[in-house]
């Protein structure tokens, strides 16, 4: 078994002591896993990320990162938000350099680390462009590059492709899997698209109704590397239908 890089032990959390999201929650994520988290909107998926990044504090229990219990988790994970959140006043190069700047890396040193990566991220020749000059897919790649440059082994991606058109989305998914393998990261990926979850992940965690104690876990029965056609496999199709039914009945949505 691989070593766990992220653990929730008996974690409870609520907003203002009223809306309880997690109640005695347990979770283990292992090194270099690709995990997707699905659930209806408002089911607490993003709260999980807010806890991991340290934007929220657990009321009870402990969260472990890379084998140590960390109280202040700021700067310990690479978070990629739903909107790309690039700074419009910074060029691609300057945007990617933000986490390095925060870590005290000099400008020249930062540039020399970023420039070789641009090719791989499909951003060659765009280093001096501003975000407004880029396509949606390119902006997401800059945002992903920025989260990779935090240097963290744990990447948290919050519906990163939800604003992209179907074709761009597909190529971004394939590209992400490529990067994940090459960079040896552990990825937690929030989505509400069951197909995306099945295509990308080792395990799918399903958020149903709050408060959450344990998440229902689905192991994706597919080998890697995968192609989109694998999703037509009868076992996968059944799994997909099951998941969709579950998401529909989960909570009191529609």
């Amino acid at each position: 078994m691989r070593k766990p890089v992220l653990q929730f032990q008996d974690v409870s959390f609520s907003y203002d002591g009223k809306k309880t999201i997690l109640d005695g929650f347990h979770l283990n994520v292992y090194d270099r896993e690709f995990i997707t988290i699905i659930g209806a909107s408002g089911s607490g998926k993003s709260t999980l990320f807010r806890l991991i990044t340290g934007l929220e504090k657990e009321e009870h229990g402990a969260i472990w990162l890379n084998g140590e219990q960390v109280k202040n988790r700021h700067g310990r994970t690479g978070y990629m938000p739903q909107q790309d959140l690039l700074m419009p006043w910074r060029t691609v190069l300057e945007n990617a350099a933000v986490p390095l700047e925060l870590a005290g890396v000099g400008k020249k040193e930062a540039a020399s680390r970023i420039l070789p990566l641009l090719n791989e991220f499909g951003l060659n020749g765009s280093e001096h462009k501003y975000p407004s000059e880029l396509s949606g897919g390119m902006r997401q790649r800059v945002s992903f590059l920025r989260s990779v440059l935090t240097g963290s082994n744990i990447l948290l991606l919050d519906e990163p492709f939800s604003a992209l058109d179907a074709i761009t989305r597909l190529s971004m998914q394939e590209w992400l899997l490529d990067q994940w393998e090459k960079r040896e990261k552990t990825i937690l990926f929030i989505t509400h698209d069951v197909n995306e979850a099945l295509f990308l992940s080792d395990r799918i965690l399903v958020f149903q109704e709050t408060p959450v104690q344990t998440l229902q876990e689905v192991i994706v029965p597919l080998d890697r590397p995968r192609s989109l056609r694998d999703l037509n496999d009868p076992a996968v199709v059944r799994l997909k239908d099951g998941l969709i039914d579950q998401l529909r009945s989960g909570g009191n949505k529609i």
Partner: protein, 247 residues
């Protein structure tokens, strides 16, 4: 230039109407035609440009400089400290209910006929747009971006310098543009009340002599000063925010 065609046409038309009306009324000492103002301007060019423009320009520039320094400092303080915000923000807003211009005579009493009474009037009316715009700009930065900086280990200072200050820049420049136009008004009004030189002073003195064209001539120059300063701010704005030109 084509873009401004309609505006230029309207101006030409208005001047035409003015010229015609003035010639019909034929009271040049109180209602001079534009051509009369232009001729008088030419006759007075040396007095206006070398005796009266420099003191007015000095008031405008010193007043603006003080306003920028104080306004930005207060805006930063209010953005950083919630206590300062609660203490000063309501005061800054309600200070605008005071007719500042009406207070100008008091400042003439306090500071005399020298440059400083006029500078104070200018500062008082230009301070507000700079402070409030800069403050709103500092506060306008996106919450998500600030949180992202936190997740990357950014400190309060990092967030201020790398997120809040750049977000405030466009707001600061809009405030400055308003302030620049107001500064010209402030300087001129200050001079009406008490001065020994200056375009506002000169204009008012000519009024007592019933020289209508000479009342207008310094106003033409004042407007030109306002326009030049405004364009200067626009150039600065474009230079310091290159990314905006690409949008």
């Amino acid at each position: 230039m084509k873009k401004y065609g309609p505006a230029i046409l309207i101006v030409v038309f208005l001047f035409g109407v003015w010229e015609l009306a003035s010639r019909t009324v034929n009271l040049p000492f109180i209602f001079p035609p534009p051509s009369g103002v232009a001729i008088r301007f030419w006759e007075l060019r040396e007095t206006l440009l070398f005796d009266h423009l420099p003191p007015t320009l000095a008031i405008i520039l010193i007043g603006l400089a003080i306003s920028i320094v104080l306004g930005v400092a207060l805006a930063v303080w209010m953005a950083v400290s919630e206590t300062a915000e609660r203490a000063f923000y309501p005061l800054v807003i309600s200070s605008q209910m005071i007719p500042t211009i009406a207070l100008a005579p008091i400042f003439i009493m306090f500071f005399g006929y020298g440059i400083w009474s006029k500078v104070v009037v200018t500062v008082l009316i230009t301070f507000f747009p700079i402070t409030v715009n800069t403050f709103d700009g500092l506060k306008s930065s996106s919450k998500e971006l600030r949180e992202l900086m936190l997740t990357m280990g950014g400190t309060k200072k990092d967030i201020f310098l790398k997120v809040q200050v750049p977000s405030a820049k466009p707001h600061f420049y809009s405030g400055l543009k308003v302030a620049v136009t107001l500064s010209v008004i402030g300087a001129a009004i200050g001079e009406w009340l008490g001065a020994q030189a200056g375009l506002g002073y000169f204009s008012r003195r000519m009024m007592t002599q019933f020289d209508g064209a000479a009342v207008f001539a310094p106003i033409v120059l004042l407007s030109a000063v306002g326009i030049v300063l405004f364009l200067l701010v626009k150039v600065l704005e474009k230079r310091s925010m290159k990314w905006r030109n690409k949008e």
